[in-house]
Every structure is written in C-alpha cells, then in structure tokens.
Symmetry: C2
Subunit: 306 residues, 2 copies
C-alpha cells in the first residue's frame, strides 16, 4: 500500500514542499512506496515554487480511507487534517508546531517535532547524508520551504540552524537566496485573484482566547497596500466567514515582509479591545500597525488576550 | 529553574533509568540544569539497577507545580503522569509508546517518539558522540534499561537496533549481558514483599475494550510459581483494585521470561470470554497459558477483544 504524505489543509510552501521531499526520501532511500498529497489548492507562492523547481503538483484529496497509511507533516492538529485521519494508520509525524493533542496511533510510530522554523529543516536533519542523493528539485524545495517559513530569515521563528541549512543548500544549488526569496514573495503577494473570503481563509488557524473562538489569519506580503485597499470588503466578509466556520471573530494580520510589521484590521470593539490588551497599542481607526510583528506562532498567538 | 525529568507513575527500570540518563545529558552536555524524578517507588528490578550502578535514587514527587519545566520520558499518556502535567511547561518528550493524544504544549518543543523497545535506546541515538563522555553509571543504566524492556532480547518488541546498542554498551563497559540480565530478572522476580493489590498495580496500563475499562497488568518473572501460588488471593484482590481504580476488570498476565510464555488468571466469565476471543485458546480452569506471549504492547493490547 502506498503511504500518503501530506501537510495541512491550507497548503503554503512548507506544507506543499515537505510532503514532496519526504515522499522522495521514503521512495528512493527507505524503499517505502510513498506519494505526496495536498489537502487543498496550494497558495500562489507554493504554486510558484512547484513551477520554479519543475515539480509536479500533488493530487488534492478531500479525505483519507480508513486504514490508509499516512505520514503527516507540518501540523499535528486534527482540525487541519482530513476528517478521517484518526481512522487511518498514521505511520509518522514530522512537525514544528506546538502539540495540540488530538492525534492517536495504534502502535508506536516515528514522531519528530522540533522547535525549528520549518518542517523541511527537520527533514534535512533526519535525512543526514542521504540528502546528497536528492535531485535538484528536492533540494530546491527544501530551500524554498525554509525561505518561506522564515520570511528570508526575518521571522523571529528563524533559528541559526534553519539559516545554516538554507545557506548550505543555496551554495550547493548555486542559487542566490535574495533573488529566489524575492520571486517567492512576489508570487505570494499576488492575491488579486482571490475573493475576500478566500483571503481570510488562506493562512488561518483556529485559536481560543478567553472563551472566544478566533480564526487568526495572516497574509504575508511585500505589497500590503493591495490588501489594505480592500479592507472594507474584507471586514464585511469577516462576519460571514466567522459564521460559516463556527468562529466568534476573524482576525486578519497583514504582515509586511520588507518593513517587518503587521497591520491588524479592526472591524469592531472586540478586536479593538483584543488588540489593545494583547499588543499594548492604542487603536483609533479601523487598522493598527504592530511594529516588528511577523510570526503568528512566536508573536501573535502567545500575546493574544482579552 | 531546574528542569524535572520523569517517566510514568509505576517506575520500572526504563522509567527510573531514563530520567537519570537524560538529566545527566541536559546538565553535563546541554548546560541545562536538570534533575531526575520518580512518580512512585521503583520496582525491585529498578531498585537493584540503581544500587548495581551506584546511582542515587531520585526523589519521588506526587505532582508538579504550574509552570514547572518538565521533560517526560517513557510515556505520553496523561493518565500515567502527574495530575497537573498540562499546567507545567513541557519542554520535551522522549518515548516509545503509541500516541494517546492528551498532552498539550504552549509552544513547539522537542518530541521524539520511535518504535524501539526502550526509551534509553532513543536517548543513545539523540546523544550521539556525547555519550562517550558519560560516566559508567549512565552507560550502565542505559544497558540495564534495554535489557529490562527487551527481556534480554526475548521480547518481540526488540529491534536489531536495541540489541546492537546494548551489545556495544556491554562491550564498552566490560559487562557480561547474560549475568547482568539474570541478576536483574532475579531482582524483578522477588515480589514476596508486595501485597496482592500492589502486585496488580505494579506494571499496569488502563485500556478500553468494547466499552470495558480494563487494567492490563503484567508481571515479568523468572519464578512464575511464586506468583501463581498466590492466585486465589490475587483474584480476590482484583475486585477491590478494579473498584478503587474505576475499572471494570483487572487482567493479570504472569510472563515467564525464561519459558517465553504468559499465564493469564481467569477469575470469571468476562476474562474467560476475553481470553478465548483474543488469543484463540480454550479456557477450562482459572488460568490459561499463552505460549510465546511476552509483550503487552506488541501482543496483548493489539489482541484484546470481546
């Protein structure tokens, strides 16, 4: 039976690239038949990365069969995974997020979670010298995953190890990091084709603060104006998205990658109170700038309070 | 703040030795102040191992303070851990059991779970060349943990890697594996001082089968007669232990390490039906021999059905 390797339901570059990297390793090094899968349409940066490194877009699946062999990467959160994931045979988990505690296995399996910026960095470490055998596209995907998750080393999630691995890969591949990152971020910033609701759900995690179910959405961009010009219709759309997704409120943080700051949309008093309590700012209009804030994991989620 | 390293509430050799091994590594290699702890009195084998390698018995604690830094080894099951464990700051998990899904962390941490026989084998791999710096007692504890969890390589949980690591350690230490294992198993078999209830709880895991809450207890011994001679009072005690612990039934498997078989006590029709459905045997008296059965994890739990 082929092992299916997939990340979370909102595939960014790490959740698109890491399954491809690990499926290569299982097939070519471990001799385990494996196939990368997607749980949704890759975002514009991930689509660029696939094309740039000449990698086939993995098939998109909606759920997994009971008993299917699966390896889960870049998440350990059942809410971000297929509905039947706990009926599948989970063979491995490779992740860099906090443990949320919903996945179960029927036997001991290989689980590797590390406080690194990127799943692909963990895979680099697990593969050791076998990585030398990887084709250019696999090493390229690994480099792109790290540049994406670290926002080219700007994000506070970046560790010296993530950076060292990326620089080694870039040298090996003869790639200029700044050029590749610029092209990736340009692709990620091209969000004109997406509806407001799609933008709000593109990179979003559910999180509970003081009993409120929040959808904490982040848009990383080198062109924040394009998004902020749509703020009225985005704020209007938040009401419907929250309702449909069973949340109390959607928060949208527009992260300016180059200026290293986030702008939070403030549609109502709940978000105003939350912004003031969480980030020590004073909110006057319908947006507030949070200097230095780039990471949901390191800076936004730990700060959120009411 | 000192990081507390502990295993589960019924400390066998692996759950006693592995915290000592990892606390040494954190202190001496990683520069992280750390202390091994116990969540209960070590069993007779673990007590022998501490004495044999001249290791101090770790302090026994009943619970952890909110915010305490802890590393959890040899389990990932909240039911086997202090009541306040999810209020502590879990800094790491090293384990070789199935993921049961109740632990949560507030940030990404280091989690390493591997399908190996023994936690100490995983620690060996994580420590790499730093193990060379370990004193004799640490390497000795590591060897003893592997011999204990593999029943000197007899248990089907044993992997070639566990065995290779143990043999390398034995050569390094100048220890005869068969002699050390014999002394350990003799210590483990000396259960005369324990009450029936203590024996039933000594190495026990909660497990649900067809809606029945079971306490699946295992006694590994080279002298099964000593235990089986007490079967009437053990079976009488099962009723009280089940009641006190909120279980429907206690199962006691007496594993004969040398004959490589288990004897299951059969106090009533529930256990009779369970034994016949699970192991394809026909039960006539108040015990049934299960040839080749040595491992709760690999052979008993996966087989249990009603």
């Amino acid at each position: 039976m082929t092992t299916l390797v997939f990340g979370h339901k909102s595939p960014d570059t790490d959740s698109t690239g890491s399954p491809i990297i690990w499926a290569w390793y299982l097939n070519e090094v471990k001799g385990v038949p494996a196939k990368a899968m997607l749980l949704g349409e890759p975002n514009t940066e991930a689509a660029f990365v696939l094309k740039h490194w000449d990698l086939a877009k993995p098939e998109i699946i909606a759920d997994v069969e009971p008993g299917a062999k699966v390896v889960i990467v870049d998440t350990n959160n059942p809410a971000e995974l297929p509905a039947s994931v706990n009926e599948a045979s989970i063979e491995g988990i490779i992740d860099h997020h906090m443990l949320v505690g919903g996945l179960k296995t029927r036997a001991p399996i290989e689980i590797t979670i590390r406080p690194l910026a990127c799943t692909a960095t963990i895979m680099h470490d697990l593969m050791g010298e076998d990585l030398a055998r990887a084709p250019r596209g696999i090493k390229g995907a690994m480099l792109s995953c790290i540049l994406s998750d670290t926002l080219e080393f700007r994000s506070p999630t970046t560790t010296t190890h993530d950076r060292a691995v990326a620089e080694k890969l870039a040298t090996d591949l003869g790639v200029e990091i700044s050029e590749l990152a610029a092209a990736m971020f340009e692709a990620k910033s091209d969000v004109s084709a997406f509806s407001d609701a799609a933008l709000l759900r593109m990179d979003s995690k559910e999180y509970t603060v003081a009993g409120k179910e929040l959808r904490v959405s982040v848009l990383e961009t080198t062109a924040p104006k394009v998004v902020l010009d749509r703020k009225e219709s985005l704020m209007a759309s938040m009401v419907d998205v929250a309702k449909e997704d069973g949340a109390d409120q959607v928060l949208l943080f527009v992260v300016d990658i180059l200026r290293e700051e986030a702008t939070l949309l403030v549609p109502n008093n709940l978000v105003k109170d939350l912004a003031e309590a969480s980030f020590g700012v004073s909110v006057t209009g319908d947006t507030v700038v949070l200097p230095g804030v780039m990471s949901r994991k390191k800076q936004i989620l730990p700060a959120l309070k009411l």
